[in-house]
Amino acid sequence: MTQDTEKPPAWQEDIYLALKAAGVKQVAYVPDAGHAHVIRRVHADPDMRAIVLTTEEEGVATCCGAWLGGERSVLLMQSSGVGNCINMLSLIQNCRFPFLTLVTMRGEWAEFNPWQVPMSKATQGSLELMGVTVVRASQPESAGETVRAALDSTFVSGEPMAVLLSQSLIGRKQWVKN
């Protein structure tokens, strides 16, 4: 993926617009190529705050702090990061914080790096074991609507939610430049 030079896929813009329309103010992230466009847009948006993390579990806590203070927040990460969050998700379950994470999947489709596979296989199960409801978007035309629905479930209904963005949606990672 060379999204820095190519036009970003429309579904990534749809996700940014969904976050914006829902009034999300804080976007915490560990970067991934599939989130790159949203991250750029959030950094450029004076009404949103981008928070880069050293590890994904920090974002679980920043989202809870934001909610305590009256702001909506989401956490962006890739599937490997879900494993880093497990104990911190106790905070979500104990306090029933509204929580939404968007997870770009690795290790499930045309994967080059086998080290991505074990956590990929455990991603959905780990989230569900910690009480997070998991939905998935695999088609570009439905990604925005899936995120919009998850935003409602989170902030209207108070549900902890994860949206998995399929690796097939994101496309092949180019390991060797042509």
Binding site: L53, E58, A61, T62, L68, G70, N87, L91
Partner: protein, 198 residues
Amino acid sequence: MSTSNSGASIRRREFVARLLSACPQSLVIAGLGSSAYDLFAAGDRHENFYLWGAMGGAAVMGLGLAIAQPTRSVLVITGDGEQLMGLGALATVGSQQPANLSIVVLDNGHFGETGMQASHTSLGTQLAEVARSCGIADSTRIHALDEVDALAARVNAREACLFAQVHVLDEELPRALPLRDGVHMKNRFREALGLPTF
């Protein structure tokens, strides 16, 4: 090996009580264990959030809160063990630096809740230096109780993100147990800010 808390004289409960009394408007997140007991012992209030888990998360929870509430002083009170589990959080705070966020680490050099095993701050780690190296320029070490007033003034001023490493005695105190119902704490905290439950 240097021990950062050798020669500590500050009694933690007294320090926290004086800090809270001088910062009555602040929103407070307490890390799990002794720090939460110290905060509760200073007097329960709806603007206190006591963690009983989520180890390593106190400072970053304070970060999200501070960004959401820029006109209020946000105070994170935690221990050396809790902060050590989230050292990366200091880099994340350093990259954001909300001027209304203060992180106060009560450093007794030990894991107090689990049998007083020596922590890394007894074995060479200098937390205030770590915080400074993460970009939190206003990082200080506090060795005397009477420095609490100057710290409180800086917390109340909301002029810079700050980090204070407070060298406290490694005394084992009776537990003062705060409420543990997270849903209740969350809702009363938001209510104190005029916010609905969700």
